[in-house]
Amino acid sequence: MEQLLRVAVDGLSFASYLFLVSAGLTFIYGVMRILNVAHGSLYGLGAYMAAWLVLRLWPGGAPGALALPPVWSYGVLLLAALIIGLVVGPLLERVFIQRVVDRGEVIPLVLTFALFLMLEDIMKLIWGVNPLGADLPYAMLGAVSLAGVNYPVYPFLLTGVAVVAAAALWLIINRSRFGKLVIAVIADREVSRALGIDVPRIYTFAFTLGAVLAALGGAFSAPMISVVPGVSVEVIILAFAVTTIGGLGSIGGAAIGALLVGVLRAAAVHYVPELDLFVIYALMTAILLVKPRGLFGGVEVRRI
């Protein structure tokens, strides 16, 4: 029982950050038909930016030169995500990705892989290669006792962020003008263009929204991890697994996929630690073989 609770709690926190990254990836794929490998880098950039800002403003966990109250560090995490998402997102899309959006699926995939390689080194150039550990927001929340076992509170905050992000995304897609335009573009690019929708602009917005989500995932996991070069590499491949399991282009699918992968991995870590990675990719393979479009990505079903 205690073990099961641990699995559930660990799985939920793992699923939360997986969802933040995967939702952006799957949204961008749904709209632009581009599998964005550089999405992992946006996660990494968000994590670095957040850790760096927190360490700058609260060196050693104490208020620094600006003497800001430590509670503001949560706002700083959000700010870091927005800075990265809103600056790097449109930049990547406008300068590089927009040029290849009509060149099939393979070329954009490889282009974003090239961008991913570049951003890996850019992160090293900006923030060095030493790990950044900014655990102030994590340490401040302390721990809570559930059924006699202590759990850190911070992962629950991460879950909260993921839920809020999911709700916001749902509102944007289903209740806003931008969402309507996005759905039109997904349904038919050509007709949308003919109807006067500025498709490239929708692409830029959609890509930026996805970028913000990835950066959000990075910024809010930064306090839980040690931010080192290479964080992006692991995240993106996990996000691939999550999105394929849920169905590329389906945000609900990304949520279910993230939960499945999160809980499965947590269970494997607790019961068969040698197989913690294996189970994820075995599930990914199995789903691709049985339902290539994922659990929620039917051909006729409208994506998103």
Partner: protein
């Protein structure tokens, strides 16, 4: 306007130009050049320093894997998972040596590695031949990540992140001393590379090669013609996997060590990278791409360990945006200009 011209003029194809003809006539200039390069590579080898021989040996081995990736790219299939075969070939050599197979010679071990990878490809191919586009790439990534997670975690079998040693006792009955080992390996890999490249060249000009080209253009029409798309893709996939295994086994022998990273998705990404960098315009392009890539990486890594990926990434972006045919297309253009110059 002929059909061919129209398909080239179509905007979605104009950017990703494929070779106009894979026939023998058109490419005979390239063949002559390749033979000349081969002779030069064989003659100058004894004069080259050890590190350069090693670099070329590894580049040829990886070039063979890239050749496999290119065979699939010609049918518009991107395998983001050739690390699977690369690692399968490499680990077969290491396992065979570790678990006391009586043969210690490199040649039969490389053959064994190739065979194992071929069997893996024949099995994986049964499933993957149904997939196209992004799903083909995703499934191939999933398979290679499965192998990676096993190589990484089954420590008692694979040595985990430490990997395994892969040092065969000799090559083709020869027991080269330490100072001639590099040279012997170089010749071994060079001969194999030349033979396999010739095979791939014939393959490109065979019905199967043309079918892949046709599948790139329009799969439905190929089916209407009465050819089996799935069978063509399956066969190409198995050949491609065999090349991956051969390259992996050769690389393992040259490096003397294998590690799980061979199967990680970034390793597969690198093969696709080199494939586009070299270009899909000729069977020689992957080798050219692999050699240039290894040189650039070697020097960039030495000069600036923190920016070499930045450099490689930028080069690839430039190639994709401005030279979609890769290095090979630039060479072709040069060659054309040279021919034109002579005539006028």
């Amino acid at each position: 306007m002929t059909l061919e011209e129209r398909s080239l003029a179509a905007p979605e194809l104009a950017g990703r130009r494929l070779p106009r003809a894979l026939g023998l006539l058109e490419a005979s200039g390239a063949v002559r050049a390749a033979v000349a390069v081969l002779v030069v590579l064989a003659l100058v080898a004894p004069l080259l320093p050890g590190w350069l021989l090693f670099l070329l040996t590894v580049a040829f081995a990886k070039g063979l894997v890239v050749l496999g990736v290119v065979l699939l790219l010609r049918g518009d299939l991107v395998s983001f998972g050739h690390g699977l075969f690369y690692a399968a070939g490499a680990y077969t050599v290491a396992f065979a040596l570790r678990w006391g197979v009586p043969v210690r010679d490199a040649a039969p071990l490389v053959l064994l590695g190739t065979l194992v990878a071929t069997v893996v490809a024949a099995l994986v191919g049964l499933f993957i031949a149904r997939y196209r586009g992004i799903f083909f790439g995703m499934l191939s990534t999933a398979f290679t990540m499965i192998l990676y997670s096993l190589l990484l975690k089954l420590y008692w079998l694979t040595g985990g992140t430490d990997g395994l040693a892969a040092r065969p006792a000799g090559i083709l009955g020869l027991q080269p001393a330490a100072d001639t080992l590099r040279l012997t390996q170089y010749y071994f890999v060079l001969v194999l590379t030349a033979a396999v490249t010739y095979g791939a060249y014939r393959l490109a000009a065979s019905p199967l090669g043309y079918l892949m080209r046709a599948i790139y253009d329009n799969e439905v029409r190929v089916e209407y013609m009465g050819a089996s798309v799935r069978q063509a893709i399956y066969r190409t996939y198995v050949i491609s996997g065999a090349l991956g295994g051969l390259g992996g086994a050769l690389a393992a022998v040259a490096v003397g060590h294998v590690a799980p990273d061979l199967a990680y998705w970034t390793s597969s990404g690198e093969f696709v990278f080199v494939a586009l960098f070299g270009g899909a315009g000729s069977v020689f392009a992957p080798l050219l791409g692999a050699v240039v890539f290894e040189f650039v990486r070697n020097y960039a890594f030495k000069l600036s360990p923190y920016t070499w990926q930045l450099l490689l990434g930028s080069v690839l972006v430039l190639v994709i945006l401005f030279a979609p045919g890769g290095l090979w297309s630039l060479l072709e253009r040069l060659a054309q200009r040279a021919r034109g110059g002579k005539r006028s």
